[in-house]
Amino acid sequence: MKRPLSVLLAFFAALIMTTPAAAVLRVDINAGISKPMPIVVPAFTTPTVASTPAGDTATLGRQVADVISNDLEGSGLFKPINPKAFTTTVTYMDVTAPKFPSWRTLAAQALVTGFVQVNADGSITVGCYVYDVFSEEILAREGFSTQPAYWRRAAHKCADAVYSRLTGEGGYFDSRVVYVSETGSQTKRIKRLAIMDQDGANHRFLTNGQNLVLTPRFSPTQQTITYMSFAGNRPRVYIYDIGSGTQRLVGDFPGMSFAPRFSPDGRTLVFSMAQGGNTDIYKMSISGGRPQRLTSAPGIDTAPSFSPDGSKITFESDRGGSQQIYVMNADGSNQRRISFGEGRHGTPVWSPRGDLIAYTQIGGGKFSIGVMRPDGSGQRLLTDSWADEGPTWSPNGRVIMFFRSQRGGRADLWSVDLTGINERRVPTPLDGSDPAWSPLLP
């Protein structure tokens, strides 16, 4: 028993002795410059050009690169080099042995390259390679197979791999957004549920607009959406199955029910219900049963949102005289106010990382999006416009989507990152409000 230890010690002693003593100059670098990383995403190549129902593989290769470029640029952390700025094309052999010198002349720091090929069963494989251009090191390599129609998902998955490897964060590009699409005049507003990819592609309406719909929310399993509808002139909570198109009422309560949201395991709904002049928060299994009442304070308790571990719920309440944010245990115990800043605070949403709560701040004639820690500290505003409200988190907890209203009544969807700097409009064919971000797709 003694000998191995001594051998080990001798080994370390040798290690220390061979390491030169602090004989070299040491330079501290404690300042830097943060800017979007120049990255080059040339058109993906193909071993042989083959046709697929979604176009030939050479065209798909260009489109895949475009989608990846657009995703990365949208994050605000990358600056894709315009494909018009270079003539270098990528051959199939280049994918595993890139021509680094030509990418270095473009000042690109990272290279995303790959291929699209058709498999024997008609599916396609998108190969995705990430390189450090300076050190010529491969940083990530992944392949994704899918039906040709879903090539965009493979591109988003590749962009997520790049983002994740270069930032250390989880990705969020392969995800969807459900929201309320709006059109028509102020008095005759038609509101329809719509769903689209995170980048606005694959846009589809889910309802026909006969009934007003509000506050759609994704289930963690992605298969279902819960929302409030005025069908039959009664505002009530529904669950909608995306795959089958079926929808069902959640409990047939006498009063109005609204502001629903799923628990992190997808098995429970929390929502508000108005009864006898008082609005409280209830919890109920999605398979039915009796709702459990969580709050009983006089006033309006609404907008509940679970913490990602399911142990707590944040909500808004006017019990103290003005609309403020509260946190309680998931069983309704230990209710306490956490927002004490200026103005009123509403629509709290717990980040999927658990570290922050996003909210709408109301004050000074404006609505703004802000974040605070779950204990109410570190409150800061991310947007400054006339009416920004209804925050929803990206799956990685780094970006918030919300809707921005104009004075004329128009509204559209925007996203902002946690620095508050990278603010972007999310393209929708009509006006949009009440966005809800899905979890990352499988």
Partner: protein, 259 residues
């Protein structure tokens, strides 16, 4: 004997593993699991049977899922856990006083209370510990540099500042945000006379990695290496007469003071 054999077996196994890993470059693709495609419906009263207006989408045949071979991750050396907080060269470029031969200060008469203020200051200076400090400091620098380099403290400080001025513009310390602010990365860099980096900077160590920010360790290392390797921040043009001082040096990337 058994230890030797065990070592030999382990060594052979490791070599074999490295060989296998380096040869399997071919890509294994991961099947994207089918996701539910949304189907628009007409809104109906809850008593009605929901009307499906499109047929369900065909599902992608579930193929066996292969795991993509994980990208090779480099094991960060455990040594050099804590980076020494102080640097050899002072932060500002003001040259330290020239080292003076250490001589014992002559005992001086104690200043009388009635003495003039200027005299008092002069005497105090002569006996302050500050006098010996730069001497030790300069000595330590001299010892740290090979004799041929003739790199005194002033030159070392100038050199450090010159290197810092080149590198910082290419260092993006933002990865990970506040969570990664405590991660310090120490690199050792070898440079040719023309300023070209020889090989790749070597990771000497990282400190400040906690369970909550561990994912950012590799990103911090990459960002530091990228700063050194970036041609826009080349080291060409450093004083050739001091080459012995900059042919090999260490860079300590510390984002803790960033806003």
């Amino acid at each position: 004997m058994t230890e030797t054999r065990a070592l030999a077996v382990a060594g052979t196994a490791h070599v074999a593993l490295v060989l296998v890993l380096s040869l399997t470059w071919s890509l294994t693709a991961k099947d994207l699991p089918p996701i539910v495609e949304p189907i628009p419906v007409d809104f109906v009263d809850i008593s009605d049977v929901p009307k499906v207006t499109a047929k369900p989408k065909p599902s992608i045949a579930a193929a066996p899922r292969e795991q993509v071979e994980p990208a090779p991750t480099e094991v960060e050396p455990e040594k050099a856990e804590e980076l020494p907080p102080e640097e050899i060269a002072p932060k500002d470029a003001t040259p330290p006083p020239e080292p003076k031969p250490v001589e014992k200060p002559k005992p001086k008469p104690k200043p009388k209370p009635a003495q003039e203020l200027s005299n008092l200051v002069d005497k105090a200076l002569a006996e302050a510990p500050r006098k010996t400090k730069p001497v030790d400091f300069a000595k330590s620098i001299e010892q740290a540099i090979p004799a041929s380099a003739k790199l005194d403290a002033r030159a070392a400080a100038t050199l450090a500042q010159a290197i810092r001025d080149r590198i910082y513009k290419c260092w993006d310390p933002n990865a990970g945000g506040p969570d990664a602010r405590s991660i310090k990365t120490l690199l050792r860099v070898r440079v040719a006379r023309d300023g070209a980096i020889i090989g790749r900077p070597e990771l000497v160590g990282q400190s400040g990695i906690t369970p909550s920010n561990a994912a950012y360790g590799r990103v911090a290392r990459d960002a530091a290496i990228r700063a050194v390797m970036n041609p826009a921040c080349s080291l060409a043009g450093l004083p050739p007469e001091l080459y012995e001082g900059w042919k090999e040096f260490e860079l300590n990337f510390d984002p803790s003071e960033m806003l």
